[in-house]
Amino acid sequence: MATVIEVDCTTGISTEREQTAEEAAAQAAMQAQAEADAKVKAEADAAQAAQLAATNAKLMALGLTQADIDALLKAAKA
């Protein structure tokens, strides 16, 4: 079983003990949520990157150079 550290900020006493099954379950739930969040973030980042790439391609098809597009993006963010 893993070790957990608990600090009592009022007394200044730090205690090390074994993790309980309940605490391990709660931690596992948090990890599962964090993994789900990370997946959502990765999917959002990928979708955004794909959209930007598609938009970039459309602009280049109109005759703009990459330098032109970068300048437009820089101006838009300013």
Binding site: A2, T3, I5, V7, C9, Q27, M30, Q31, Q33
Partner: protein, 177 residues
């Protein structure tokens, strides 16, 4: 304006590592809280870094991340609920390097939801990692309708915090208190 920073406690992880670090019975006499972490996770597979999960008052209080770094040309956005307040080095990173993370919680005794800001950096000098440096800043809303009396830190993968990881909690007083 906050003008006084008082150390409450600094906990350094011993040789056996630790699955979690908890600060209990946090005094309610300060104005704000500040946490400084130098941490390294035992995670040795997958991504180069490990997430830092934070729970308040012994329960995994949902915190809504309302701002996070996006990809190049991306815009900050609200996209999730999360317990993740940042990233730290893992055992996949350069040996003996520790991630740095700071977290600031204003008005932590309030009975309203509380805002929080955290920033972090994790270093990986190896060119074979999925990235060399992970850096970020996050603003979060701690959805807790009571004062914060307890903070628990765990890693995102359930791995132990490694020896010499250090967690420091500070209380901040505003001017005139």
């Amino acid at each position: 304006m906050s003008v006084f920073l008082q150390p409450i406690y600094t906990q350094t992880v011993g040789s056996s590592g630790a699955a979690s670090i908890t600060f209990n019975n946090i005094p309610q006499t300060f104005t704000d809280l500040k946490v400084i972490i130098s941490g390294r996770s035992a995670r040795n597979t997958g991504s180069a870094t490990d997430n830092l999960n934070v729970a308040f008052n012994s329960t995994p209080t949902v915190s809504t991340t309302i701002l996070d770094s996006g990809s190049p040309y991306g815009s900050p956005r609200s996209f999730r609920t999360s317990y993740v307040f940042g990233e730290l080095d893992s055992a996949n990173d350069t040996a003996n390097t520790f991630g740095s993370l700071e977290m600031y919680i204003p008005n932590y005794t309030s009975s309203n939801y509380k805002s929080s800001i955290s920033d972090y950096i994790a270093e990986n000098n190896s060119g074979t990692g999925d990235y060399l440096v992970s850096v970020g800043m996050r603003a979060s809303l701690i959805q807790l309708s009571s004062g914060i009396t307890s903070i628990t830190f765990t890693t995102g993968t359930g791995s132990n915090f490694l020896q010499y990881s250090t967690f420091s909690l500070y209380g901040v007083l505003r001017q005139g208190v």
